[in-house]
């Protein structure tokens, strides 16, 4: 039953077109169609096959096309490039040299996707099939080995053995808290109850993170197989995948994957004739960050306002409808089939001391190669930013990274040798978190950056507990007034006091970590706060109220839009074309900058 469907002969030559969200936005589906039409026109549908895959990782250079058994990589493919690639694919199959990847114009080309520097340090376990298989085809997933671990476990392992294996692998939850997955399962297995739930947390609310989305879109069966294994281990018979509302493509692929798996007896009643039953339904989130917190998620699935509640009782004892409920993150679950197939030792051999295995990061910000990367735990920040990310995308050096989203911290360039693992990051005040990693250059003001995160968490605070609801509000007011040039002596100390208070007294980790961005920037970029407060200066020119506006004469076309829109008549034209801004009249509203059609107005 697990054998691939052989009724469609496997094509000899495969053209992989990335159909992850970022590449689709760049037009990859039209590219795929172009290939398919050409193949059909030439009557080669049997020997050349187009596979629409999940995310390849290098979103910055999409649409990504990877061709043939060697994986020849074509970045940023447009329709013209597609036509030229088709000629090669249908002809001599030699790589089309001018279209290959280059680190910079004129540099040597790199033909294979695996050889691109972005990939050199990566090791793919969670993303093993992303970019390889067709996520909408169960046969494609079979061919890549999905569901083999499940069938082995059901036939040869007891639930306790599965738990032991996962515990020994050292896997820790990838949803943020980093709790031992094996231990959580043990608790859930031991809990009393005839009906237990195993749920997948796919809420992925951290702004700037898209790891879980990529896995769901690229290899949904790996997540379902992980869920079934987890359910078998703890004795659950039902479960939900709680998916974020903004991920329609992930929902669509997951829905199809569930239906396909049920139709083949891989989910549902009496899975593979083993007597074990487990069924999965999808619940779409409705746009609340706090619903990623497990007790809030439970409230939301039950149809209530998604607000957290105090723990204990932990969901493993009393969760959904008061029944034992184990909640695991998408990435955690996608690791499970690999661990069961390859053994605990193989997994534990990857990574560092208390941080085993790999971690997927969404590498974004001011680096050359933004995208999705999976690396062994323990790489340094510098390796991530410079080797994988290719360093700064501007002429300005990278000055900081923010790791772990709104609950994480900012690290300065002087700490770039910090290893990315649970313990090393905790020792400098940051967290692995869910895996957002944003590198920023000198054009980012760290005070404004901290304000941004705090504004997010404050907006998403559910309002149930006072420290989070009011404490983050007061902190946000203070940080905002600093960025607006109204900071007062004593503000820094107040922020630190409030931050520590909110951290230690909030009900859930939303409040418990909300102050991290502020506290870490206060620790590592204190001089920027001090400059804002005492000198009314923003060195990044990012805080509008602390900058002056000027017209770049070379870019100004003399259209007069700025003058017309200036609310205080601060803009004059001396000779007809020469526009200038009078700094004494200017109220720094920034309207002229936004209105100028030629981007000729800048902050200095």
């Amino acid at each position: 039953m697990i054998a691939p469907d052989t009724s469609t002969p496997r094509a000899a030559y495969e053209v992989r077109v990335c159909a992850g969200s970022a590449c689709v936005a760049n037009g990859s589906l039209q590219i795929a169609q172009r290939f398919e039409e050409a193949i059909a026109r030439n009557g080669l549908a049997g020997s050349v096959r187009v596979i629409k895959t999940g995310c390849h990782g290098l979103c910055a250079r999409g649409p990504v096309v990877v061709v043939g058994p060697d994986g020849v990589f074509y970045p940023a493919v447009d329709l013209d490039a597609a036509d030229r690639i088709i000629v090669s694919v249908l002809g001599d199959r030699e790589p089309v040299e001018p279209l290959l990847f280059r680190e910079s114009p004129g540099a040597d080309s790199i033909a294979r996707y695996a050889d691109v520097p972005f990939n050199a340090r990566q090791q793919r376990i969670v993303l093993r099939n992303c970019g390889v298989i067709d996520p909408e085809s169960l046969d494609s997933a079979f061919a890549a080995g999905d569901y083999v671990a499940l069938s082995t476990a059901l036939a040869t392992m007891t639930p306790e053995q599965v738990i032991e294996m996962v515990r020994d692998s050292g896997l820790r939850g990838r949803g943020g808290a980093g709790f031992s997955t094996g231990m959580k399962w043990q608790l859930a297995r031991a809990a009393e109850g005839d009906l237990k739930y195993l749920c997948c947390n796919a809420d992925e609310g951290d702004p700037g993170a898209f790891m879980d989305r990529a896995v769901l879109e690229g290899d949904p069966h790996a997540v379902l197989e992980g869920m079934a294994l987890a359910a078998y281990a703890i004795g659950a018979s039902e479960g939900y995948v709680y998916v974020r509302a903004e991920y329609p493509l992930a929902v669509k692929r997951l829905r199809k994957a569930i239906a396909d798996a049920e139709a083949r007896g891989l989910l549902g009643k009496d899975i593979m004739g083993s007597g074990f039953s487990y069924s999965v339904s999808i619940r779409e989130g409705a746009g609340a960050f706090v619903c990623g917190e497990e007790t809030a998620l439970i409230a939301s699935v039950e149809g209530r306002r998604g607000m957290p509640r105090p723990r204990p009782p932990f969901p493993t004892t009393s969760g959904l409808w008061n029944r034992p409920t184990c909640i695991n993150n998408v990435e955690t679950l996608a690791n499970i089939p690999w661990i069961v197939a390859n053994g605990a030792e193989a997994y534990a051999a990857i990574g560092t001391g208390n941080s085993k295995g790999t971690k997927v990061f969404a590498l974004t910000g001011h680096v050359h190669y933004t995208g999705l990367v999976e690396v062994p735990m323990g790489l340094t920040v510098r390796e991530m930013v410079h080797e994988i990310g290719g360093g700064s995308s501007s002429e300005r050096p990278i000055k900081a990274v923010q790791i772990g989203g709104p609950s994480g911290g900012c690290l300065p360039a002087s700490l770039f040798d910090t290893h990315i693992d649970y313990d090393a990051l905790a020792s400098v005040g940051a967290v692995v978190g869910s895996g957002g990693l944003v590198a920023v250059d000198k054009s980012t003001c760290m005070v404004e950056f901290a304000r941004y995160f705090l504004a997010f968490t404050q907006d998403e605070s559910c309002g149930k507990c006072v420290p989070c609801r009011i404490g983050t509000k007061r902190m946000l007011e203070i940080v905002t007034r600093i960025t607006e040039g109204h900071g007062q002596p004593g503000d820094i100390e107040t922020l630190e006091r409030l931050g520590n208070l909110v951290r230690s007294t909030s009900l859930c980790a939303l409040g418990g970590t909300a102050a991290n961005p502020v506290l870490t920037t206060l620790k590592y970029f204190r001089e920027e706060y001090e400059e804002h407060i005492s000198e009314k200066k923003c060195r990044a020119h990012a805080c509008g109220a602390l900058s002056t506006y000027a017209v770049i004469p070379e870019k100004c076309k003399g259209c007069g839009v700025c003058k017309k829109n200036c609310p205080v008549n601060a803009i004059s034209s001396v000779i007809k074309e020469q526009y200038t801004i009078d700094p004494d009249t200017c109220v720094k509203c920034g309207i002229c900058e936004a209105k100028c059609p030629f981007d000729a107005i800048i902050r200095v």
């Binding site: 969200s21 970022a22 689709v24 936005a25 760049n26 290098l58 979103c59 910055a60 999409g62 992925e204 609310g205 951290d206 702004p207 700037g208 993170a209 898209f210 989305r213 509302a245 903004e246 991920y247 329609p248 619940r283 779409e284 989130g285 409705a286 746009g287 609340a288 960050f289 939301s300 699935v301 039950e302 149809g303 209530r304 306002r305 998604g306 607000m307 409808w321 969404a362 974004t364 910000g365 001011h366 933004t370 995208g371 923010q402 989203g405 957002g436 944003v438 920023v440 980012t444 950056f449 941004y452 995160f453 997010f456 559910c462 920034g590 309207i591 900058e593 936004a594 059609p597 981007d599």
Partner: protein
């Protein structure tokens, strides 16, 4: 508790057909409220008060609870929305790559503040936190279609195109 006696759900402009279908297919599932609100919003574009009242009656929940849930989640809207929905990503990646400047341009061009709808119901402008295309930052979604790697110029171009289409 006595039955609510308000009758506004029978108001002439509210066509209950779609909602009746939703309620008859989904109201027995455990925790049905959120999926029902989602389906209703899909059908009506927003959640009109008569719809909330009907849902409350059908699920035997106090209207206050239905209202409480509908206002808790950012996805639900109690007011009609524009024909075109412009959603500007303010996720971290987009933020550091200029989402604020893009927002200024879009708000300026359309004359609609973030979080509101133009009076003629043509445009709604919203901010969202990360749409999962961070590799393409900054990103704007127009009627669900992703536009990535935007400069202020490009943002100005796409909204003026949208405006032209709307006035034609």
């Amino acid at each position: 508790m006595s039955e609510c006696s308000c009758t506004s759900s029978q108001s002439p402009e509210f066509d209950a057909t779609a909602l009746e279908a939703i309620l008859s297919s989904g109201s027995t599932v455990e925790g049905a409220l959120v999926p029902i609100l989602q389906a209703s919003q899909d059908a009506y574009g927003y959640l009109p008060r008569p719809a909330l009242e009907m849902i409350a009656r059908s699920l035997r929940l106090p209207l206050a609870e239905v209202y409480g849930v509908a206002t808790f989640y950012a996805q639900f809207h109690l007011e009609p929305r524009g024909k075109h929905i412009v959603r500007i990503c303010h996720g971290t990646a987009c933020h550091v790559r200029g989402a604020t400047e893009i927002t200024d341009v879009i708000v300026g061009e359309l004359g609609v503040e973030v979080g509101s709808t133009s009076e003629d119901l043509s445009f709604t402008v919203e901010s969202v936190a990360c749409v999962g295309c961070c590799g393409l930052a900054p990103v704007v979604l127009i009627d669900g279609e992703t536009h990535g790697g935007l400069s202020t110029q490009a943002a100005r171009r796409i909204v003026s195109k949208l405006q032209r289409e709307q006035t034609q």
